[in-house]
């Protein structure tokens, strides 16, 4: 812009000079005679300058006018270096200054705020904050310290910490030793936890932090004391809960009492939920009430102090408390059973706190039992705790029982923390019971399966045993017939020889031996063949006593020789029964023969008959040598024998015959106590396997 004006001046200069020279000649008259040419040029220059200045000024003045016009029309904004521009710049400057000022003010405000905040934070810091000099003098404290120590600032600041802080924190191994360590410059920052107990129950836990701080060449000490009681209790609660859970895992699921004991221990252990006492009430539907099953906790305040003192002094932890159950002999006493069983709440007491717990399936706290409508007077008289909690044990959506817990001796309030924990124990209890029930059901099911399996196995064994005997029987039948034919020849010729050589001494005798042996073989074969032959009894109504009497007569000689007493104790009103006379007689013969063989000389065999419950009973009782267990189990199996040379078919044939008559045969015996064979026959034989024919047909 300025360049433009310069060029304008340079261009105008010769023009104006020429104009001045021409004016000189025009006005060179006498009036102007005294003006020299140089004055004229000077004058011209002045005029030129004035002209230029006017031009520039006009132009400059016109530009803003145009600009304003355009601006007003909204076409443009200030561009040129005009008055407005200057004004604008000034405004901007003022604005900037104002902003800066504001920012400063803002900064200052924030600074003030931050200062206030930090002061407030330090002052209201939840921990106890103390700053001391190297002489242990307290320089600064936060408000918590004032509240904590319950003294005024002037009684704290300026004094040494040893004068001010409570003894339990200063004690051996705590703050004093910490100070020694840090003030001697050994350690930079040190922290230590101090646990304080009251009556064996964890009361307070402090975390103490001591650190040197350097401010302008001066060493000060920052002491921070943190009350970590709550978090430490939480940790212990979790630990206890885990101990209980682990203990439960190790207990047999059917050991109900031990499982519940573990849970109650969790509720009453000092470090965990820390209730003074806990009781378990179980629903007894038959009696229509919740009745105390057992409890845990001291019986009196004195006992409480003794027990808790012991626990604290012996540093017993949860695991040890849990194993207490196994060490204590008198479980009834340990579990306060007598006392617990006196606590009862009938279902009908609808408004009762226990019933409310049952109904809503959540826990309730009673703070003042004496005035609470939900607690009955008789309940109070037994339970006595003024403040307690009632927690439901829910098993499969049904309230199985109730846990009642209280702080009867310490009167500690039942805070949310404990409520939550005991709730968890309640849930655990429910799970344990549910698990235990499921386990028991499983056990029952397993027993059933075991039984079914053993039945099946027995049936299978029985079947294979039967199959075995059936196969043996078939084989025996074939072999018997093949042997019988040659025996006929041998025996027959022996008889012939005997007859023809009668009187020939040894030949006759030898032939006799052959005959006897063949007869023996034939009788064995007859037995085997009888056994293998299918039985189809031909039933006729027969008098059992009569058949028995006939049988007894057959043994008359044997009885006489052995001097055996044969007693007949026949029932008088024995009805006729449909049976196969020949087969039944064979049974009687076999049994009576065995009985006579088993008794010593002058022994007794008693045969009795009686009628009972639509059945006829025949008993053969002897006072003989008796039968051992093994024989008893096998005596009815074919080919089982204890007799030398016996085939072992006699009793198995008896059993087959009795079975085919739909009867039963059993033996009661033991070694040296004689034996009794008992035969049971149904009086009504209409369902029998054979046809009943009239005895006179």
């Amino acid at each position: 812009m300025k360049k433009r004006y310069l060029l304008l001046i340079l261009a105008l200069l010769p023009v104006v000079t020429l104009l001045g020279i021409s004016m000189y000649y025009i006005v060179r008259g006498p009036a102007l005679g005294r003006f020299s040419i140089s004055w004229t040029i000077f004058l011209a220059g002045i005029i030129t300058c004035i002209l230029i200045a006017s031009f520039v000024l006009i132009k400059e003045l016109l530009i803003p006018v145009r600009e304003i016009r355009e601006y007003l029309k909204g076409k443009t904004r200030y561009q040129s270096y005009s008055v407005l521009r200057i004004f604008e710049d000034l405004t901007e400057e003022i604005e900037r200054l104002r902003r800066e000022d504001l920012e400063r003010k803002e900064e200052f405000k924030e600074f003030t705020y931050l200062r206030g905040l930090s002061e407030s934070i330090i002052y209201n810091f939840p921990n106890y904050l103390i700053i001391m000099d190297s002489e242990k003098n307290i320089l600064f404290i936060n408000r918590n310290v004032i509240d904590w120590l319950g003294r005024e600032v002037k009684d704290i600041v300026g004094h040494t910490f040893e004068e001010v802080l409570p003894q339990e924190i200063l004690g051996e191994g705590s703050l004093r030793s910490l100070w020694e360590k840090v003030s001697r410059g050994g350690a930079t920052r040190t922290t230590v936890d101090i646990s304080l107990y009251i009556l064996g129950r964890l009361d307070k836990v402090y975390n103490i932090y001591l650190s040197p701080i350097r401010i302008e060449e001066r060493t000060l000490f920052l002491l921070m004391i943190n009350d970590i009681t709550l978090s430490r209790k939480r940790e212990l609660q979790i630990y206890d809960f885990r101990s209980v859970s682990e203990f439960i895992r190790g207990v047999s699921r059917t050991d109900f009492e031990r499982l519940l004991f573990a849970i109650m221990t969790g509720i009453t252990s000092g470090d965990g939920a820390g209730f003074n006492r806990a009781f378990l009430l179980l629903a007894e539907d038959e009696r229509g009430e919740f009745r105390g099953r057992f409890g845990l906790g001291p019986r009196s305040r004195e006992e409480a102090y003794t027990i808790w003192g012991d626990i604290a002094s012996q540093h017993k932890d949860m695991t040890e408390l849990l194993h207490n159950y196994d060490r204590v002999e008198d479980k009834e006493s340990l579990l306060l059973s007598d006392y617990a069983q006196r606590i009862a709440v009938p279902y009908s007491r609808d408004q009762d706190i226990v019933m409310q717990t049952v109904r809503e399936k959540k826990c309730f706290v009673v703070n003042d039992a004496r005035t609470d409508d939900r607690v009955a007077q008789e309940f109070n008289d037994v339970y006595q705790a003024n403040s307690f909690i009632s927690v439901p044990i829910v098993v499969r959506d049904k309230v199985y029982g109730i846990i009642l817990a209280d702080n009867i001796y310490t009167n500690e309030p039942i805070d949310m923390d404990r409520v939550q924990l005991i709730n968890i124990f309640g849930l655990l209890c429910g799970l344990v019971i549910e698990n235990s029930q499921a386990f028991q059901e499983l056990g029952q099911r397993m027993e059933e399966l075991k039984k079914a399996y053993s039945d099946l196995k027995e049936a299978h064994d029985d079947l294979s045993e039967k199959e075995k005997f059936a196969a043996m029987g078939r084989m025996a039948a074939v072999v018997s017939h093949e042997i019988r034919n040659p025996l006929v020849t041998i025996g027959g010729f022996a008889r012939l020889i005997k007859r023809k050589c009668s009187g020939l001494g040894p030949v006759e005798q030898n032939a006799e031996i052959i005959i006897e042996e063949v007869e023996r073989l034939e009788s064995i074969l007859a037995n085997i063949m009888d056994y293998t032959k299918p039985l189809s009894p031909v039933l006729r109504n027969e008098n059992l006593n009569e058949i028995l009497h006939e049988t007894v007569r057959m043994f008359r000689r044997a009885v006489k020789v052995k001097k055996i007493k044969l007693k007949e104790e026949f029932g008088r009103k024995i009805p006729e029964v449909a049976l196969d006379r020949r087969q039944i007689k064979q049974v009687f013969i076999n049994i009576l023969k065995n009985a006579i063989e088993s008794v010593e000389e002058e022994g007794t065999v008693t045969i009795s008959t009686y009628c009972r419950d639509d059945h006829l009973f025949v008993e053969f009782r002897d006072d003989g040598v008796g039968i051992d267990q093994y024989t008893k189990e096998n005596m009815f199996n074919p080919f089982f024998t204890t007799k030398e040379g016996g085939v072992g078919l006699g009793l198995s044939i008896c059993k087959r015959i009795i079975d085919s008559h739909k009867g039963e045969i059993e033996v009661v015996s033991g070694p040296s106590q004689g034996s009794t064979f008992k035969i049971k026959l149904p009086i009504d034989q209409k369902g029998g396997s054979g046809d009943v024919q009239d005895s006179d047909s």
Partner: protein
């Protein structure tokens, strides 16, 4: 003198029965199986036939039927080692059923009974 036909495949037994019955005073003829027996029955008359059951070619039960067809009035004793045939209804047609035994008393008494009872 009574004539008895013994139908028996076992030679030794044939000898035994022949000797025993002859000693009882009967005239005894032998047949080794059912077929031979039937031929003999066709040709000659017998007072009694003792018939074994288990025999080659034709067994005693079948032979019994045929014999009774031809000579319905001749008494027959079934004589066998098998007591089970007693329950077979075909055997009921026989006049007696005797289980073989080395002791021939039962057989002899049955023979006597049938022959002399008939007399």
């Amino acid at each position: 003198m009574y004539r008895i036909l013994i139908v028996e495949d076992d030679e030794h037994q044939q000898m035994l029965y022949k000797e025993e019955l002859e000693s009882e005073g009967y005239e005894v003829e032998l047949a080794g199986d059912g077929e031979v027996a039937i031929r003999k029955v066709e040709d000659e008359d017998y007072h009694l036939i003792i018939l074994d059951i288990r025999m080659p070619r034709m067994d005693g039960i079948e032979s019994l039927g045929k014999i009774l067809d031809k000579k319905g009035n001749v008494p027959v004793i079934l004589h066998t080692a098998y007591s089970s045939y007693k329950d077979s209804f075909m055997s009921w047609a026989a006049d007696a059923y005797v289980v073989k035994s080395s002791n021939l008393d039962e057989l002899k008494s049955k023979v006597r009974e049938l022959l002399e009872g008939k007399k």
